[in-house]
Symmetry: C2
Subunit: 263 residues, 2 copies
DNA sequence: AAAATAGTGTCTCTCAGACAATATGTC
DNA sequence: GACATATTGTCTGAGAGACACTATTTT
C-alpha cells in the first residue's frame, strides 16, 4: 500500500479543511480534554462550539492533533491552556488519561483516534475563543442531557463526534475517583474549608445524593491521614459561624473510601 | 510539512524491517495486549520473545499495528487470537482497554503510540510462535521482577520498550477490578467452584495476602445478588469434601466490594 | 434575640475478620 | 479410622449513617 501526504500544515483549522482521507494510510491521533470544574455549585465542563464542518454548530471538547515529539499528557495540558488563554495550568490542577476512542467511523472525514483526558481544576478562567471555534463556555454537565442521573433536560446542546460518550465516561471516572482518592481538593482553591470540600462532593455526586451529612463528612475526611492540614485563620462568614481553613497534605488515597450512596 | 510513505506492507515483520522514521510525519498506532490467566496457581502473562531489533531477545507483549478500518478492541482481540492460534477468543473472555502509552522516545525507531488492553481468560492454550517472534510463553508475573510486591527475583527476563510499566499497570488494574467487579469468573472455566474462585483472588492478590479465609470469602461472594448461580452436581474431590458447582449469573458489580487487605 | 452555618458527641446497625464446629469426600 | 477440604455458624470490633446538641458568626 502506498500513500502520500501533501497537506501543508500551517494551523489546525487549515489542516482540518484540507483533510482528504485518501492522503493517509494510517490513523491520525488527537487528544481531547474533559476539563471539569465547579462553577456556581455545579460540575461543569468546557466545550467549544464548532465553526467548521463536520458538526458545525455543535459543541465539542477542546482538543487537537498531537505534535510529533510531544508527550500525550503535555498535549492535553497544552490544549486546555490554549483554550483558556493561560500560559500553563494553575498549580494543583490534576490531569489524567481517561481512555482512547478509536471507532473507525467516529470522525466522518478519516480515521481519527483520540486519547481523552480528564482535568480537574479550580478557578479556571472563562475560555477564549480560538481561531477554530466560534465560541467556548463552561456547561454544567447536568444541562447536557447525558444519561448521568440528572433527569431530563430541555434544550440540551448537540454534541459533536462521540463526545457525549467521552464526557459521560469522564464524569463517571470523576465520581468514582472522589471515592477513594484525595483529588476533590484539586477542585477548590487553597486554602479551603471542609464545607467547600463537601460541596465538591455534592456537586459531583448530585445525581445520586442531594445532600451529605456535614458531620459525618467532616469525621471521615479528617480521619484520612495527612490529607487536610489545618491552616491559619478562618474563611469569611457566609452568614453563620466561619469555617476553619485547611490546605491539602500529601495523602493521595482515602482509606477507607468515602463511598457514594448506592441507590 | 510534507512526507511520503513508500513501504510495501506485506506483513508485520517486513513492515517493521523497512521502518524509516523519515517516512512519517505522524505517529503510528499499535495495540498491545496484557493477556492474563491463572496457570499453576499463578497469575501469568503472555509474552513473546523478540526476534528482531530493537530489543532483540527481550520479551514483549503481543501486539501490532491497527488496521485502517479496524476497531481498537477488535485489533486487541485479533492480536491475542493470532498469538494463541485461535480463531476467536473463548466465550467468557473479558477484554478492556487499559491505557495509551505515547512517550515520544518509547520506541527508538519512530513515534509509536500504543493502546494497551487487558484480557482475562481461562484455559488459553500455549502460544504458537509467530513469524516475528522467536518464541512465546506464559510468564508468572511474580517472576518478572516488576515492583508488584512479590519480592526480589533471580533471572528476571529483560522486557522490551515500556512493557514493564504496561504489565505493572495491567496487574494493578486487575487487582483493583477484582474488588468491585465480578470479573474473577472470567479466569475460571464454567462451571466452577467457590474454592476455585477464591484461588483466583489469592493468585491475583498474592503479594498482599497469602491466604484468604475460606468461610468469609464464601459468605461474601454468595451475598452478591445474581453472581453465583448454583449448577448441578459437584466437582471431583481433590482429597476432601467435593465442592458445589456454580455458573456466573448476570451480576457485574460486587456491592459491597470485596476489599483487599490493606497493609 | 433569631437565623444561619460550623463543629462535636452519641447511638445503632451492618459487616468484615477471626475462628470454632460440622459435613463429606479420599487414603 | 486419619486426613483433607468444603461448608456452616458464632463472636467481636470498626465504621457508616442518623441525628441531637453546642459554638460562632451575621442581621
Amino acid at each position: 500500500m502506498t500513500a502520500r501526504t501533501t497537506s501543508r500544515r500551517t494551523g489546525e483549522a487549515e489542516f482540518l479543511a484540507e483533510y482528504d482521507p485518501a492522503d493517509f494510510d494510517r490513523p491520525s491521533v488527537t487528544v481531547d480534554v474533559v476539563a471539569l470544574t465547579i462553577r456556581a455549585g455545579q460540575l461543569s465542563v468546557l466545550l467549544v462550539k464548532r465553526g467548521a464542518h463536520p458538526f458545525k454548530g455543535s459543541w465539542a471538547l477542546p482538543g487537537g492533533f498531537v505534535a510529533m515529539e510531544e508527550d500525550l499528557d503535555d498535549a492535553a495540558g497544552r490544549e486546555l491552556a490554549e483554550e483558556t488563554g493561560l500560559d500553563r495550568l494553575p498549580a494543583g490542577t490534576h490531569l489524567e488519561q481517561l481512555a482512547t476512542y478509536g471507532r473507525p467511523d467516529r470522525d466522518p472525514r478519516t480515521r481519527v483516534i483520540t486519547v481523552a483526558y480528564v482535568i480537574f481544576a479550580a478557578d479556571l478562567p472563562e475560555p477564549v475563543a480560538g481561531t477554530d471555534a466560534a465560541s467556548a463556555r463552561w456547561w454544567p454537565v447536568a444541562d447536557l442531557g447525558l444519561d448521568l442521573g440528572y433527569g431530563d433536560v430541555e434544550d440540551a446542546p448537540s454534541l459533536a463526534f462521540d463526545h457525549a460518550q467521552i464526557i459521560r465516561d469522564g464524569v463517571e471516572r470523576t465520581r468514582s475517583k472522589l471515592e477513594y482518592s484525595t483529588l476533590a481538593t484539586a477542585f477548590v482553591p487553597s486554602p479551603f474549608t471542609i464545607p467547600e470540600l463537601r460541596r465538591v462532593y455534592e456537586a459531583t455526586w448530585a445525581a445520586t445524593s442531594e445532600e451529605m451529612d456535614a458531620s459525618n463528612f467532616r469525621r471521615k475526611v479528617l480521619a484520612v491521614d495527612d490529607w487536610l492540614v489545618e491552616a491559619e485563620g478562618t474563611a469569611d462568614s457566609t452568614g453563620g459561624r466561619p469555617a476553619r481553613l485547611y490546605v491539602a497534605g500529601g495523602a493521595t488515597r482515602i482509606v477507607p473510601p468515602l463511598e457514594r450512596p448506592r441507590e
